[in-house]
Symmetry: C2
Subunit: 169 residues, 2 copies
């Protein structure tokens, strides 16, 4: 076994940077997520991240892609359309900062192929349990809309989610 510090010289810096980035994102919000702060969090110089990410935005995109992979796994573990709807909302509620990064304005999915791929993977899991295409899109838009409104503090706390989820056919 090597110490974590030595590990950076053996290819472990990339995951260490992503972990530091997520910790920063949770602790200080997206504004605190500077590349230099991420490097400090991982214990390396402000310049070391460029060995693994082409830019700050590329690191953010990688973190968001990781979020989509985790969301896809959570959806796969949930049974049925209603179950996946609840799993989707649970994920967004459990990781609000990450969820906002995944869909936020600072990342254009169009310009990050790996991100778009990871997102498509999560959505295909949702589609797999819907009756038809319009139904899958409606369900996805509904849970995504609820998750977004909740994350922004626009969603009344006393609403029973199931009473809303069942309004979509």
């Amino acid at each position: 076994m090597s110490t974590s510090k030595e590990a950076y010289h053996h290819g472990e810096l990339r995951p260490a940077l992503l972990a530091a980035a997520e910790a920063l994102l949770v602790a200080e919000g997206p504004a605190g997520l500077s590349l230099r702060a991420v490097a400090r969090g991982a214990g390396v110089s402000h310049n070391a991240p460029y060995r693994h990410f082409a830019s700050r935005e590329a690191l953010l995109a990688a973190l968001a892609a990781e979020g989509f992979s985790r969301l896809a796994a959570a959806l796969r573990a949930a049974p049925g359309l209603a179950g996946q709807g609840r799993a989707y909302l649970d994920f967004a509620a459990a990781h609000p900062a990450l969820y906002r990064l995944m869909f936020g304005a600072e990342l254009r999915a169009g310009s990050h192929p790996a991100l778009k791929l990871a997102a498509g993977e999560a959505f295909s899991v949702l589609s797999g349990v819907a009756a038809d295409r319009a139904g899958a899109l409606a369900a996805w838009a509904l849970v995504h809309g609820i998750a977004g409104l909740r994350a922004d503090g626009h969603w009344p706390a006393d609403v029973v989610l199931d009473s809303v989820l069942t309004r979509v056919t």
Copy 2:
């Protein structure tokens, strides 16, 4: 009539800053929306905006609040729930950068009372045409979800919106 330059000395700087900020947001995205660039756009020193906004975030919040007011006006002009749904989606599609700022991760509505108020105003217009509270929330979440997915490029271009909008009761 005074020239626009002189007008800054007579209380017109605030709207001029908001207009410059929106132009920058549209032209360069949220990353290009620096306070110093906004000041340059309005033709004043990098420091002048602090006479009207406490911080960069306060200026962003004011711009987002203006967006909610415009959205509310667009909703008021549309007849019925389906009409308002379409008006909501039209607004998001016509002003994608502004829409993303309104709901984006860089602004927490909770910490900007005026922003939360403006958002609540827009939502109350939507609620006014729904049959009940769960239906209003479902409709709002659905159009908001569709708007967000479209803005992020996750929405298939060939989907007929009405076929999805009618899935919500």
